[in-house]
Amino acid sequence: MVLAVVAGAVVWSSSGSAAPPVTTRDATVDVLDGPARDQRVQLSTRLYLPENTPAPAVLLAHGFGGSRDTVAEQARELAQRGFVVLTYSARGFGLSTGKIALNAPDYEVYDAQKLLDYLARQPEVITDGPDDPRVGVTGASYGGALALMLAGTDKRVDAIAPVITYNDLSQALLPNAATTGQTARTPAAGAFSGDGVFKRSWAGLLFSAGAGPRGAGAPGGGAANPGATQQPTQPPTDQPSDQPTQPPSEQPTGASGDQGGQPPAGDATGGPVSCGNFTDEICRAYVEVATTGRASQQTMDLLHSVSPVSVAEHITAPTLLVQGEQDTLFGLDQADATARQISQAGGTVKVIWYPGGHDADSPGPDLRATIGDWLATHLGLPRTSTLDTAAVTTAGFEYSIQGPLRTQRAPTVRTVAAPTYPGLGTESPGTQRQSLALAGNPQPVLRPPGGSPTSISAIPGLGTQTATSSQLANRLALDMPGQTAQFTTEPVTEQILVAGAPTVRLRISSPAGQQGADEAVLFAKLYDVAADGSRTLPGSAVAPLRVTGLPADGSPVEVTVTLPGIVRPVAAGHRLQLVVTTTDLAYATPVQPATHVVALAGDQGLALPVVPGRTVTADSLPTGALWGIGVVLAVCLVLGLVSLVRRRHPEDVAEDLTGVPLVIDGLTKSYPGGLTAVRDLSFRVERGQVLGLLGPNGAGKTTTLRMLMGLVRPTEGSIRVFGHQVSPGAPVLSRIGSFVEGAGFLPHLSGAANLRLYWAATGRPEEQAHFDEALEIAGLGSAVYRKVRTYSQGMRQRLAIAQAMLGLPDLLVLDEPANGLDPPQIHQMRAVLRRYAATGRTVLVSSHLLAEVEQTCSHVVVMHRGQLVAAGPVGEIVADGGEVSFRVDDAETAARVLRELPGVTKVTVAGPDQVHAELDAVPRATAVASLVRADVAVEQVSPRRRLEDVFLELVGEGAAR
């Protein structure tokens, strides 16, 4: 019967680095189907083989308007987790031949049975018996219905997971939500009354998706088929390939973009052109309904026969029903009916409602993993999902609530799980319903002639392009004035989480005497009204009702209306508003004008289904991260202990030097760039000295002082202060008061506050500081209470020197203290320093001015280019009164005269007009008198300063002088 021919090549593919390799095998499977099994169709198939075979199989059916390629990514996902996956193009789609019979038992369902035969013959597939592969069936929408039909027809199916599909096409396309009878006890039960209102826009979109020209019949052609051009190359996360929303919109593009380039195949020529790929039977039925808005019994029977409702009682395979909360085509009531039917016949059913559907997104990665887990568990593969492991594989119920806030990119969603789907089975207590009183007088509603203008609830087929923002879609709703009856609740005091189809009892009547008004076509919807009056129509859904047999005398007919199934948290302070209109854009409304009166029946108000459950969370704490936190804390602890221990390292003390304020030995500081700021510097400072560190700018004075303060680490050599080696933070630094390279104050505080906070930072007793005396020395007067940022350079300088003197340090280090001070201040400071040193303390002053050092210091160290040039008492180095320079007109004569003077030694001629001589005890006046007597004109007599000579030479000004 089946003449299977393996065509195509084996294609190795590797998608992603970590994903297991998946191979594919294309084949065209020939099937003879039809009532007489004599119509040949060729089904284009592709088999996805996992890494390890044999393995259980999954038959993956595509949505309406799709093909085997539109489910490629999902197939690859399933194959990666270990299934052999068979995808195929259903008859009338893709490269498959034949005509669309809408999952008719003799056509599509029989084809699928033959594909099970084909699977059983593949060596890679585990079999449960001869011709019996271990197989699950899944698919979305049209493919989901096939899964149900196949499972109800063929016992070889071991598990199914139909997604967003229908139970009864006649109720999906011609719904009637009003009933005078009882409604089922399940949460989303619809009335499912006969003689419904035609859902024309969705039906039209679906019909056009199957009716247009297509790129079939191109044997050996490329993979071109509708939807292929929109396939994402990345593993889908947002828009998987089986997106059933797409067909209407993508069909034209898919066809025009047919890469095969072949003319449409001839197998569409059998019927009228308008029928496209549909079988005549389906085509006739559609034309009938689309033109009259009503379905004949024959059409109803046809739709019933191609719907899962016809076989649901035979389904024994474990069934996972996934239905969308944003779905105006196949609402929650469709899955609800399927669940009831399967459960009644004893089958196992799990129901999941997710925040997507034909109006929004396809199942996301997590939900696809759950579907895979369902199949894996029932087909004998390990599960992989980490989500809510317990609830995945058993009967039960999960629904997701889409929150109003978007915290990151996607709307936040939480899932609530209940142990069972309420109302299934006879012993089940049924759905809990919360009553909410509605208020509103009976209101007349008018249907205008021609049914226009129309109210709007949703625009089908907008698909994910706009409806990803359900906020937007929900706000499209529009009610026409005069056509609308409104009934509103009081604001709810606490949040109510509506999960399912609310019901309400209404009284519908026609005014007495109105002609031909024995039936009413109305549309009921339930708005969530915020405190500010903004309305949201959850799920964009509307419940159409056709109430027949309205008495001519104007007395009402009382009906129960099942509103669309929704999942909606109604926030505290919000109201619910029931709106009944006479028209709706998505439905075929009668064209005759009519008036009806809509009234509430009784005072029960709204019955809101509530399904308690627990919020599903990934309850497993990541142990790796917990360990990580532990490790981090442990490292902190260890480091803390180590630093405590290291702080107690022994001090490096030279006992013989404890009385010497400062000994610098072989000090060198060189920088990585090759610059050596200080080279092999050695000197020593004794108590009571005022030592001047003299050198031109850049001589290394400041660097030396920074090393002395422990701010800069010496490259070599050592600095000992009172015998203690100086290092960063060495306690001996507390005996040094310093002012190095500019003041450092907090500009936002006053001078006084700065000094007090500075002293507080030392942690030493306040009485040691002697603030008042130090501030007196600074002499800032009332300015000490002004913020430092208002100070002049000189004021900062004085305050900084005062800060250095706080606590009367044993060694006072001042770097260029005279900078920025005016002469009287300099003069006064010199006195302070000299007197301070006289108290047995030591002062170290750096300067680039010789005069400064000469007038302030007792000792001097001269530096140049980082090296020591001279060191000693200022008096020794600056020869005061000893050597004298004479400027004369005749140097030779002068030298001779001076040499002759008793007591004068070391007479040298320094130039044509200059003579140096050591006068010793000889007064200068005597020397000058002798020269004058010898007829030498004396222009100038001055003490000769060796230091100045040296210094000027160093500074490079000697030549200029």
């Binding site: 609530i401 929150g403 109003p404 806030l405 915290t407 939480r414 906020q471 606490e494 949040q495 989480l497 500010d532 903004s534 926030a571 505290a572 919020t615 969370t617 309850d619 704490l621 917990l626 990580g628 936190i629 480091l639 001090e651 920074r706 303060m709 422990g710 701010l711 800069v712 680490r713 960063p728 933070g729 306690p731 001996v732 630094l733 507390s734 005996r735 310093s738 190095v740 390279e741 450092g744 104050f745 907090l746 936002h748 500075y758 930072a761 030392t762 942690g763 030493r764 040691q768 007196e776 020395i777 002499g779 009332s782 300015a783 003197m805 606590g807 005016d822 009287p824 301070y836 108290t839």
Partner: protein, 332 residues
């Protein structure tokens, strides 16, 4: 010699008087009373402090330097700190004002975000945390930690602190502790003010989570409290990075801006879904994990991962900062 000196002295005095009249004022009273010099030297003559066994001046102990209250006093006196804290107090009022002004065009609102915020006090707090989570909170932490050492360097006061001497690690620790206290205070201040403002304007309603789940007022408060706790832990990474930059540079703006920039960069990279799992290693990836708390059954998974990520970043950068600071030559 004296005669030589007097001329310029007179000129200097005149110059000073002129500038004093020009604006600064009080220049002429900047002088030292000769009596004060005598007094001071007298004092120095008679007072000679002892020396401790480790060679320090008597009264000095490394463990007592730069006490926390001193560092806090130094920081709290700053206009920057006061302005920031003032802004945090003001922000909830500004938001309420914005909601009140914007309420005229109710239907034009941006979805449920604002509706939720104004539904109850806990929701208002959650809203405030949401809107400040991306930039404001990291900025606050970056400001306190990034500025702490760099600003001392820029004022040249760092060298005087180190010359006290405050041991370098201790200085870093005390500064980090003070910054942490200030950051924590700011982090608590904002939701606390928001809560009070929310209570006055929006009442003690339920906390409705972003996923639409409603929690009673009490549970909502607990959730908000835990969220603040998580934020405090999570923002540690910013603290670590900012502290590291603070010891790296002498420019406070560079340290603060650098840390904020890294935070923004991380957020941008986090938007690139193509990076997939790599994004888990971004420090800001779990910045909003606290929203998992707004549920009857909190999922602690992401918060645990977020806490680990933050603490690990904080540890690494703090160690780098300590290493850099203890070995660095202070040249500012």
């Amino acid at each position: 010699m004296n005669a030589r000196e007097h001329g310029p002295a007179e000129r200097g005095r005149r110059r000073e008087a002129a500038t004093g009249a020009g604006g600064t004022g009080g220049g002429h009273d900047v002088h030292t009373d000769p009596a004060a010099v005598a007094e001071f030297t007298e004092l120095a003559e008679h007072e000679h402090l002892g020396v401790s066994p480790v060679g320090a001046a008597a009264g000095y102990r490394a463990g007592r330097t730069l006490p926390l209250r001193v560092e806090l006093a130094r920081q709290l006196g700053r206009r920057r700190t006061q302005l920031l804290l003032g802004f945090l107090v003001l922000l909830p009022f500004l938001l309420v004002l914005a909601f009140e002004l914007g309420s005229d065009s109710a239907s034009q609102r941006s979805g449920g975000f604002v509706d939720l915020a104004t539904s109850s006090a806990p929701n208002f707090v959650v809203f405030v945390l949401f809107v400040s989570g991306n930039f404001l909170l990291p900025m606050i932490v970056a400001l306190f930690f990034g500025d702490t050492v760099a600003s001392e360097a820029s004022w040249s006061s760092l060298k005087y602190l180190l010359a006290i001497p405050v041991p370098r690690l201790r200085l870093l620790r005390q500064k980090a502790l003070a910054s942490a206290l200030l950051s924590l205070f700011a982090l608590v201040l904002l939701p606390a003010v928001a809560l009070v403002v929310g209570l006055v304007w929006y009442g003690t309603g339920q906390l409705v989570s972003p996923s639409g789940e409603a929690l009673p007022f009490g549970d909502g408060l607990v959730a908000v409290l835990l969220a603040v706790g998580y934020l405090a832990v999570h923002l540690c990474w910013v603290a670590g990075v900012a502290l590291f930059l603070s010891v790296l540079t002498d420019a406070p703006l560079g340290a603060v801006g650098g840390a904020v920039l890294i935070s923004i960069l991380s957020q941008i990279l986090d938007q690139i879904t193509a990076l997939e799992d790599l994004r888990d290693y971004l420090p800001t990836h779990y910045a909003f994990a606290w929203s998992d708390l707004l549920s009857s059954e909190a999922d602690w998974g992401d918060m645990t991962r977020g806490a680990f990520s933050a603490l690990a970043f904080a540890l690494v950068f703090t160690l780098l900062a300590a290493r850099r600071f203890t070995t660095k030559d202070i040249t500012s």
